[in-house]
Symmetry: C2
């Protein structure tokens, strides 16, 4: 059977993913090494994702703010452990002016900065500096801040949405009076992320804590939301860190307690990024293109007039009326009355993953019925609905699609999670071409044999299992 | 009379402005030269401003996208005229890694980039590059793109919100098949900006075109929205440029016409930024702090329980009930039940410019009335309203405050605009300590005498008058 995307997922998952991005018109590589341009359709998805995450962040009592893009290099000098963790590959600003030299614009040697700046790879240090001034007494706590910004970590092996030098994210930074409060907050944001993935992105997640070997540099505890892609690889989709007093001490965040004593505060940080879009695309899409959950679909419904030649007035007013009914019901709808051929339109919107496709031919128009096809189930799901029931049926179907997509991903996950007791079961599984998450006693991975297995199969410990933290999940990952 | 902000506007407008920013907790200087941190209250205002601008941009048929932060230096080499205009003072990225050398993190010499990157001061060149690939035929036109991003222009004399090295803005970039279409678009976005300033920010604007001397580098026409601050200085709050074929040619944006001929396209660009916040603050605030138009006030109403000691249950449920009535009516409300003293709370929210202040003491509680005071009119505007009418009266008052604030700014503008016939009238006015906008025949400013006047009084031509483009406005500016 011919598919809209070649190769198929089964043939070559990585290439399929690259071609999916192109076919759905989501993004493209940019002339800047490791950076991508997010095209309008991709960005519209991100805006919907961002709005729904932002709502949850605000409901958690967090306020948005905006801190500088650049961080003085000396801040990283104070934070040796943090930097050793991940921040060495970053963009360094050394000059503040261009000058025409030998007929070419170049950094003006006279504009060399005494102290270079780094484009933020994350903002713990600069937000910590502000918090050290903003927090004075226990009355100022908790202080909960978040920012939606771009960050930069120089990537040698970029991959669209999953790993790019520049990416967009939200980074939350909270301060508390006690470690209990901070730890509870990190766990709370972990749950917020899990709920968001399930209910907005329709992605069931493995909820767990990173092992000491895998946790964020400078964190006491790192909680992670791990997703299982269709090829069995893991995607880390959101982490929240209990940072203990690590940053409070290095940034000097102290508060005067109700007892009159000065004490160091306790901090958390937590983030999700455009990387979630990669997880979304690799979880739900198929060999014909994107499949979007209605909650974040820029158009939840597309209406396609099927005509030979020009769209006449009767058809125009009929489709406009259909669209109006949906708009009035708060449903995002698009009428494709462009001059493309009808089959081309149909494939365009299949590739872009619009959840529900409504095709209107003259027959439908005359008989007062509407045909609708679900993207997630394909052409066999086509149904004819009387005009009078149109908006209600669409609203119901969108709800059903959202929950069916979650259920389908969950069923696949169950197939992908393998409970094992020995490392050799993992080795045998990989040798047999099996993929997925292997759940095993954590203690079994604290061995030289596991180190060798990690090296050979390029796998890592994803996280301890929240349900029983003596178990760990092992998988290949993005 | 004691004021919350000292010095007052009359005593020292610039210092008053700086202290206003602090008193209303809007922003602060950051450790990064020329950059500021926008604090939660300031950012909440920006989020509301941004949402309402974004709505208008989308209604104009524009799609949001996201282009890279960094621009290859060679792109600026192609754009000599553009760069000469404004882009030389910018942040230059020359290395992509830090290294510990002599016990300090420094740019790793081995990571020096063969071609440095510039942090975008604006994105015409990199968006133009994408458009040259995305536009193929007349069917692809118009193509209308916008992005909400941070940009950077190294500032030697930074000023909060008005001129900072990093700032947040929206930059729109549209492509058309004809010059007429492009020019109409630049004029349309000019009108969108003007309508936004009037109806959202309650700021009447001078609408005009920049003179050839003042227009954007590379533009055929630059339309501008100029605001008159309370000290009579001008603030350029939004510009839209008809770029002719300047960028289409340098970026090679060509399209195949319906006639089968390849032709260069015509482009526009248009932008507004966090600078608008400076204009908002300097237009409406007074000697007691911020005064916010309801349309962009994070809290449109603050409810302050007036009690001696702790807030009791009766008061708590009374104020919560008031808040619920407003929330149900879609009004943004905050109940300040913190343990600050009541007068301190009152001043806190006066300084932050909340449009309507509701104070509830035991007397109000018992008699079932609510007292409310308008921020823009001060304590003499205090009124008692029966509980049953509360939500309706608040909604009405918010509408009235929004239009009254516009009317007050307009009345002040009328006093600030001086029609003159000769340059010596301008000289005499400035010598007499007069401020404001001077409207004079444009031809009179195309003289060596005017050049001397500009130099001596640090004034510029703000724009030609849309109503009669043979006249120009002359003023000092931010």
């Amino acid at each position: 059977m011919k598919t809209a995307i070649t190769p198929t997922r089964a043939e070559n998952f990585n290439e399929w993913y690259q071609n999916l991005i192109v076919a759905a018109d989501l993004a493209e590589s940019s002339p800047v090494r490791g950076c991508m341009t997010i095209k309008p359709y991709g960005w519209a998805i991100w805006e919907l994702m961002r709005a729904q995450m932002d709502e949850r962040i605000k409901a958690a009592g967090v306020q948005n703010a905006n801190f500088p893009l650049l961080i003085p290099i000396e801040y990283f000098n104070k934070e040796a452990e943090h930097v050793a963790g991940f921040a060495k590959e970053c963009a360094v600003v050394t000059h503040h002016r261009l000058k025409m030299i030998d007929g070419r614009l170049q950094p003006d040697p006279d504009s060399k900065l005494a102290e270079p700046y780094v484009i933020r790879p994350t903002s713990e240090t600069i937000i910590g500096e502000a918090m050290s001034r903003w927090v004075k007494s226990y009355r100022d706590l908790p202080l909960k801040l978040n920012q939606w910004v771009n960050v930069m970590r120089w990537e040698m092996r970029p991959r669209m949405f999953l790993r790019t030098s520049e990416f967009n994210w939200q980074e939350g930074h909270n301060v508390f009076a006690t470690h209990d409060d901070a730890n509870a907050d990190a766990r709370k944001m972990h749950q917020v992320y899990g709920e968001y993935m399930r209910n907005v992105l329709a992605i069931p997640c493995i909820m767990g804590e990173k092992t000491p070997e895998e946790r964020f540099a400078g964190a006491d505890h790192t909680y992670t939301v791990e997703q299982i892609m269709q090829d069995g690889k893991a995607l880390q989709a959101g982490t929240s860190h209990d940072l203990g007093q690590h940053f409070a001490k290095s940034c000097n965040i102290q508060y005067l307690g109700s007892d009159g004593q000065l004490a160091y505060a306790w901090t958390t940080s937590w983030g999700t990024s455009t990387r979630m879009m990669g997880g979304l695309f690799m979880t739900h899409s198929d060999d014909d293109g994107l499949v979007l959950p209605p909650a974040i679909a820029p158009y939840q419904v597309v209406i396609i007039p099927i005509t030979k030649g020009e769209i006449d007035d009767a058809m125009k007013s009929y489709t406009e009326n259909l669209a109006k009914q949906l708009t009035d019901a708060g449903i995002r709808v698009f009428v494709d009355d462009s001059d493309m051929r009808a089959p081309d339109k149909m494939w365009k919107w299949i590739k872009r993953g619009v959840p529900l496709r409504v095709e209107v031919g003259n027959r439908e128009l005359e008989s007062g019925v509407v045909s609708m096809t679900r993207r997630d189930l394909g052409k066999d799901s086509r149904e004819f609905v009387p005009l009078a029931m149109f908006a209600n049926v669409v609203a119901e179907k969108l709800t059903t699609i959202q929950s069916d997509m979650y259920a389908a991903a969950e069923a696949r996950n169950r197939e992908m999670i393998h409970n094992v007791e020995t490392l050799s079961e993992i080795t045998a599984a990989f040798d047999a071409g099996k993929t997925g998450f292997f759940r095993i006693k954590y203690a079994k991975t604290q061995t030289p044999e596991f180190d060798a297995l990690m090296e050979k199969y390029k796998v890592t410990r994803r996280c301890l299992d929240d349900a029983d933290p003596t178990y760990v999940f092992v998988a290949k990952s993005y």
